[in-house]
Each structure stands twice: as C-alpha cells, then as structure tokens.
Symmetry: C2
Subunit: 189 residues, 2 copies
C-alpha cells in the first residue's frame, strides 16, 4: 500500500534497527482517514472471503479493526491484556512481548468468539508473531476458524510472518519492512 | 439516543446498583454499526462546534473516538495508561479508578495536543469523572481548549456529570442512567 509506505517513510521515527515509532498517525495519535483507507485495502485483499467477526488485541489494534468492521459490516472483538473482575468465563492465551521482554495473558469472554465463526485477525504490527498466535489460539480453542490475518506493518526481518504463512495462514501485510537503516526504511517489493 | 437506550435495556448485564456490563456491544465485543450511529449523534449534537482534535483514553474510548474522528475528519489522540519506553516528552495526569480502587497516571506525548487545539473529549462512560478530568488537565496543561465532552453512557446517580457541567464544560451524554434496579435500567428523560 503505497500511501502507507509514504507515511512511514515521512513520519516514522527510527529508534533502532528493529524498532520504529509510528505514534504520530497509527498507535497514539490516529489519522482516521488513513485508517479508513487501510480498512478498504483489507476489504479488497480479502474480497474472496466472508468473515463473521474480526478479532484484535487492545489497544493499537482497535482503531483499524473497528473501521474494517464498519466497512465489512461485522462485529469486532478485542482481546484484553488484563482480566476484568466482571469476566468470569473466558478463553485465554499466553503471549510474549519481545519489546517489553515479558509474558502476559490475553483474555476473551466466552461466547464472543464461537464455533463456526470465520475470523479475520487484524493488528498494527507483526514481528515475532506472538500476539497473533495468541489470538489464533483463542479462536481455535472454541472451534472458530482463522480465515485471514490483516497486518498494517510487518517486520519482514523477523520471523512472525514466515511462521504464520508456513502454518498455512493467509497473511496480508500492507507494508513489509525488510530493513531499518539509520535514515531509511527499506520495504519489500 | 433511543437506539442506545434500547440496546442497554436489552443487552446490558446488571452487576450491582452502580455497575452494568456492556461488553457485548461496547467495550469488548464492539458493534461498529452502532458506533457509527453514536458518532453521527455526536456530530449532530456538536454541529455548532469546530473541533481540531478528539482526545480519549485507552482502551474502550478508542472505538467511538476513531469513528467520530472519521465522521468529523479530524485526528484522534488516545491517552495511554502506561508510559511506553519510547515516550520521552509527555503530558501526564493522575486518575483514580473507583471500579478498581486505585490511582494511575495517563500519558500523552508532547506535541500531539497543542496550544490552540479545540478539543472534543470522547469516552464510553462518565461516572465520577476522574478519567475525564485527567484528559481535561492534559489538554489545558498545554493551552488547548476543551470545547466539548461526548459521553456514551453517563451514570447520572454519580457526580461526574454535575461537576463537569458546574465547571462550565459542555457535556453531551447519549444515555443518562438515573437508577440501576435489579432487572431494569432507568434513564433520565
């Protein structure tokens, strides 16, 4: 998606050779018009699919997931990183955050994803794929089928994308970064 | 907003005389089409205003804020409940959660809300108003002006709404709950 790559080139702040900061338009300050274009791109790429629900994870997944849900006309469920006291029956999975170097659980209330659901997973980043695999685990625990994974930015130099594709999942990433240099982000063609 | 009150009457789970659970359509599983109607209602109620940015707080504020931002054509900033390691310059405020009975800080990166901004604050719930006052504090610290506060559900039996209105803020709540009974939610007319 050229527009997204341009925004990344113009606005992403390079923190290291593996980390970029995109909080000026994606995961802190959000440009809803860009989110709408991202949502429409997911609609186009998955036009052959008929999803029943979108599954994402708080907090940065919510904005693209909700606008994609609006365009596709389907509900969105976001997994929580802490279990609310009012959540009694739930599905859970263990996720490792490489950025924060710690493990945490994600939770989805029982009944919000069910057997027969055809799931589109949406997230802002795909790096090692731990969060995405946690979402897949939650969906599959209850017999739902993950029919697509839509990612805004894939770090192609980390192994999440190849693991997921190797497992047979359909992953559509709108921008795949091959290398982060000091002053430039190199994208996969 | 009648449609919202109906959804609350039909789907909200009454936990106690002060707590309802609305995670089947608002803050865990999300109905994006309802969110769109909520966003359009905010557009109508604030039609006399010209905002430059929407300010909300993660995670449940993001969905209504982003769709409202899309309809109004303005950016959305969501305050974070934990400071990312890459956030170096920031505005912060202390918030008390009555549900969890604890204090926490919220953070917005410096430069994302600036002097001259005309802010619309959006949130899913208004109870004691602590989170909303934290957002107001962040906006006013940098010289931005809070010109409107859009709330989906106001707990009218708690004092957040009357404090904010008493301070002169324009608060538009789409459903104001006067009383939570065992099997019924009573709304303010």
């Amino acid at each position: 998606m050229e527009l997204l790559k341009q925004r990344l080139q113009d606005e992403a702040i390079i923190i290291s050779d593996s980390i970029i900061k995109v909080d000026s338009f994606l995961n802190h300050k959000i440009d809803p018009l860009l989110m709408e274009k991202i949502a429409l791109e997911f609609c186009t790429r998955f036009a052959d699919k008929s999803f029943t629900k979108i599954l994402t994870i708080e907090a940065s997944g919510i904005a693209p997931a909700v606008i994609t849900g609006l365009k596709m006309g389907i509900p969105v469920v976001f997994a929580k990183k802490a279990k609310p006291s009012t959540m009694t029956e739930f599905l859970t999975a263990r996720v490792h955050s490489f950025t924060k170097d710690k493990d945490y659980n994600i939770y989805v209330s029982e009944g919000f994803i069910v057997k027969g659901d055809r799931i589109l997973i949406i997230d802002d980043f795909l790096a090692h794929g731990s969060a995405t695999r946690g979402l897949i685990s939650i969906a599959e625990q209850c017999g739902a089928k993950v029919e697509g994974i839509g990612i805004i930015i894939e770090k192609g130099f980390q192994n999440g994308g190849s693991i997921l594709r190797g497992l047979g999942y359909r992953v559509e990433s709108l921008a795949i970064i091959d290398k982060i240099l000091q002053n430039e982000i190199r994208f996969r063609e």
